[in-house]
């Protein structure tokens, strides 16, 4: 493993901030994943691995989690990292700022630090997925000595983030690049290997591809070029690609179908939509063969997936029958695509074409990111494309889209479609708190079987975002979070 060197990675779009405790969007985590760490990491099978915690124990009843921290960890400003920081981060800071973490923390009774190197989480009830929340994007460690007692959002130090990670923040030329340099005091001997990392802001997808070709950047994280370019780029000399590194997120694409009103309120219509779509075609043409057609709410990449569900293969005839049966009168429905580039646009066009062919009157609505958020979170749509992360466990990433308690205007990430099924809600709840993995698997299978017949949303594709990189870069993706988990292990093979 050669030491030294620099890599350039595309980040798109430019993150609004690098303070991972305040902002958790994709680009922020991509960069901040090098700066901030959490207690654990997860390998590509989503098994927990040591990070800031060198070891941990879970009590038999699943209510007590004890973590033992690494020795000699220092913040980038030289202050020691201790269990007090962990308590501050989880119990004080993130409770206030981190929506996703907040819902998991609802299960937590107390967080205590018996000594400088030990942290104990006590839960109110068992919570199956809890071991999965110690990832940097979910529970980043925040320096207590900087933030305690301050107005978090307006703390001037947000501009120069301080973490414990393998790289330190150096500079940020807005609109151009973010520069990180090696953390010489990193607690793992010999790591990181790289001297510096540049995250490059290149707003145009075609230009990003060119940047890779001309050797300007070494790594194209998943989703940074259009799918049509992926094939071509991977065929270039000395170019490698991997589909790994997305297991934790397991992006799951589907369309919100408005269950409240319009034709989409009728289950037969929703089923017809499922039959009318040629999802294999989209996978092959729009996604260039990457990914896998989704069979239901749970991604096959995560545990608890079940394929014992109704399969909606491409079947326009069946769709037409269903439509005839419900007496569809040609009421127009609209599709709201995701405003994330050409791929999503083409996808919406393909779906529109499919639906038109079975006799559905349909047109495409269009909106930018803000408009999309506004429309989905205000329930002002018929069908809206989205993709959501599964975060390794249905209780974290999936159930929020289907349970009645999550029907709340104002957010695009909850039960936006307005699906109500109390019987099902009980099962989701039971699965989340069951201490036995087998039990959970069983309940989730039942849920999947049933919900797939209801088609609350139209599942589309388990998306795969291949990471394209220069083959000289080694050990780029080592965890289930991929490039976003930092470049702790990456190194450059010197020729």
């Amino acid at each position: 493993q050669d030491a030294g060197g620099r890599i350039d990675i595309v980040v798109q779009p430019e993150p609004p901030s690098l303070m991972l405790g305040l902002v958790q969007n994709g680009p922020t985590q991509l960069v901040a994943g090098d700066i901030y760490e959490s207690l654990l990491r997860y390998n590509t099978d989503l098994e927990p691995q040591p990070s800031l915690a060198k070891s941990w124990e879970i009590s038999e009843d699943g209510l007590t989690y004890t973590f033992h921290l690494q020795d000699g960890v220092k913040w980038h400003d030289g202050e020691p990292f201790t269990s007090a920081d962990v308590v501050f981060s989880a119990d004080v800071f993130l409770r206030e700022t981190h929506a996703r973490m907040r819902s998991s923390l609802a299960y937590v009774d107390s967080i205590e630090a018996p000594d400088d190197q030990t942290v104990v989480f006590k839960l109110k009830t068992p919570f199956g997925p809890f071991i999965g929340v110690f990832e940097a994007g979910t529970m980043p460690m925040i320096p207590k000595h900087i933030y305690e007692g301050t107005d978090y959002a307006n703390n001037p130090m947000n501009a120069t983030p301080i973490g414990t990670g393998p790289f330190k923040f150096e500079s940020w030329e807005k609109g151009s690049y973010i520069h990180l340099v090696k953390n010489e005091d990193y607690y793992l001997e010999g790591k990181p290997h790289l001297d510096e990392v540049y995250y490059r802001v290149i707003p145009d997808a075609a230009s990003r591809a060119v940047a890779f070709e001309t050797g300007e950047v070494d790594v194209l994280p998943g989703g940074s070029v259009e799918n049509w370019d992926v094939q071509r780029l991977t065929e270039l000399d000395n170019t490698c690609s991997t589909g790994k590194g997305w297991e934790f997120f397991a992006p799951h694409a589907f369309m919100w179908l408005n269950n409240r009103e319009g034709p989409t309120a009728d289950v037969r219509f929703r089923q017809a939509v499922m039959y009318a779509m040629d999802r294999e075609f989209v996978k092959d043409v729009v996604w260039n063969g990457f990914g896998k057609v989704a069979t239901g709410p749970v991604s096959s990449k995560t545990n608890f997936y079940s394929d014992d569900v109704t399969q909606y293969d491409y079947n326009p005839e069946k769709a037409k029958e269903l439509l005839a049966e419900m007496g569809y009168d040609g009421t127009p429905v609209s599709i709201l695509p995701l405003p994330y580039g050409e791929t999503w646009q083409r996808w919406a066009e393909a779906v529109r074409q499919n639906l038109q062919e079975v006799g559905i009157t349909v047109d495409i609505d269009s909106a930018d990111v803000a408009g999309w958020n506004e429309k989905t979170s205000q329930w002002d749509y018929d069908m809206a494309f989205t993709y959501l992360y599964q975060y390794g466990d249905p209780a974290l990433g999936v159930s929020r889209n289907y349970v009645e308690s999550q029907i709340e205007k104002g957010s695009p990430w909850n039960n936006v479609e307005g699906y109500r099924n109390p019987e099902m809600d009980a099962k989701w709840a039971a699965a989340a708190v069951s201490p036995s993995p087998d039990e959970r698997t069983k309940i989730y299978s039942e849920i999947q079987k049933e919900i797939v017949d209801d088609v609350p949303v139209a599942w589309l594709l388990e998306i795969e975002f291949p990471t394209i990189y220069n083959c000289n870069v080694q050990d780029l993706v080592t965890t289930g979070i991929g490039v976003s988990d930092g470049l702790r292990d990456a190194w450059i093979k010197q020729e």
Binding site: R6, D8, P13, E14, P16, S17, M19, V23, Q24, N25, G26, A99, R100, R102, S103, A153, N158, A159, E173, K174, G175, S176, Y177, H179, E196, Y198, R200, V201, I202, P203, D204, A206, S207, V210, A211, E213, T214, E216, A367, D368, V369, A370, G371, W372, N373, E374, K375, S377, L388, Y389, R400, E408, K409, G410, S411, P412, W413, N414
Partner: protein, 325 residues
């Protein structure tokens, strides 16, 4: 003296206009669906309404619109552009950071388009009606009629990917550690493609104007006088026709120059040029109100300043103006 008083008068008027523009812009921007909090929440991948409410409160978006307007106007009156909540820094700093890149790009493309446009226009006018006139005109039109974003990508593919002569994007070699002349040289190399693409696009406009104006002036009586003096064709064109023909071009250039600041959204996007046009576009998408308003205000100020500059240039070029009014 008269020049100074006139400029002062204009500046006072300009300040009032600017304020009115600021208010109108405010309403314009707030008419767009969605707000910065919703966008931030949307990007977060998970957000509950509580989170969004927190954001709104932090950004002051929970206030009634007129309160927001009032605090914005107060800011503007104290020459404060406000704070970008999204980017976590004062809008003034944000713009100051991005403005130089845009000015460099647009000014150089402005110089390119103006000088090439005038040169082509003069050349075409001198050959009016001949085949070479049509060829020149058509070449200029080709640059104009090719969609900018397509031409830009083509330029990158040819000169950067295929030939490897010039860097394809960015403002400078990232992390090169250059300074002084070496840095200037590096930036210059990065500048060539975007500045040319943008410059050639606008060239057609100046060329058309120059050509028409040259032809018109060359029909004027004083040109005949100049010929009667025994001056040679080139001297007449340079000293007599061109100077007079440039007057309308100056007007147009002044208008265009004012628009420089935001006129390069496409070029900046394709060439990853860290300029203000992109800042504007990205802020718009993110509904980063203060930033867009700041960019618009700076741009409006720029337009007004350039209008005044144009007037001054006009006075210098045309002695009649100052005397008449």
């Amino acid at each position: 003296m008269s020049l100074i008083t006139t400029i002062l008068g204009r500046l006072v008027k300009a300040a009032i206009t600017l304020l009115a523009i600021a208010v109108l812009n405010f309403f314009l921007i707030h008419a767009a669906p969605g707000d910065p909090a919703a966008v931030l929440a949307g990007e977060a991948g998970a957000a509950d309404p509580l989170f969004i409410a927190q954001l709104r409160e932090r950004f002051g978006l929970d206030q009634p619109l007129y309160v927001q307007l009032w605090s914005y106007v107060k800011n503007v009156l104290t020459l404060d552009l406000g704070y970008s909540f999204r980017q976590g820094m004062p809008v003034y700093d944000l713009i100051a950071q991005r403005l130089p890149a845009t000015l460099l790009l647009t000014l150089s493309s402005f110089v390119i388009s103006l000088s090439l446009g005038i040169a082509f226009g003069v050349a075409a006018a001198a050959r009016v009606g001949k085949a070479s006139d049509s060829v020149l005109t058509t070449i200029a039109l080709l640059f104009y009629a090719t969609p900018l974003y397509w031409a830009a990508l083509m330029a990158v593919l040819v000169f950067s990917v295929q030939l490897g002569w010039l860097p394809g994007f960015g403002y400078e070699t990232v992390g090169s550690g250059y300074s002084g002349l070496a840095r200037a040289w590096d930036i210059l190399q990065h500048l060539i493609l975007p500045a040319l693409t943008l410059g050639l696009f606008f060239m057609a406009v100046y060329m058309r104007m120059t050509r028409a104006s040259m032809l018109e002036v060359s029909q004027m009586d004083f040109v005949k006088t100049a010929r009667a003096k025994g001056l040679s064709g080139p001297v007449i064109r340079r000293r007599h026709i061109l100077r007079n023909a440039l007057l309308p071009v100056v007007t147009l250039a002044g208008l265009q120059a004012g628009q420089l600041i935001g006129g390069a959204v496409l070029t900046e996007t394709v060439f990853a040029w860290p300029g203000i046009g992109r800042l504007m576009f990205e802020s718009l998408e993110a509904r980063d109100y203060n930033t867009i308003l700041g960019v618009f205000l700076v741009s409006a100020a720029m337009v007004i300043v350039f209008n005044i500059l144009t007037d001054i240039v006009y006075r210098i070029v045309d002695p009649r103006i100052g005397a008449k009014s």
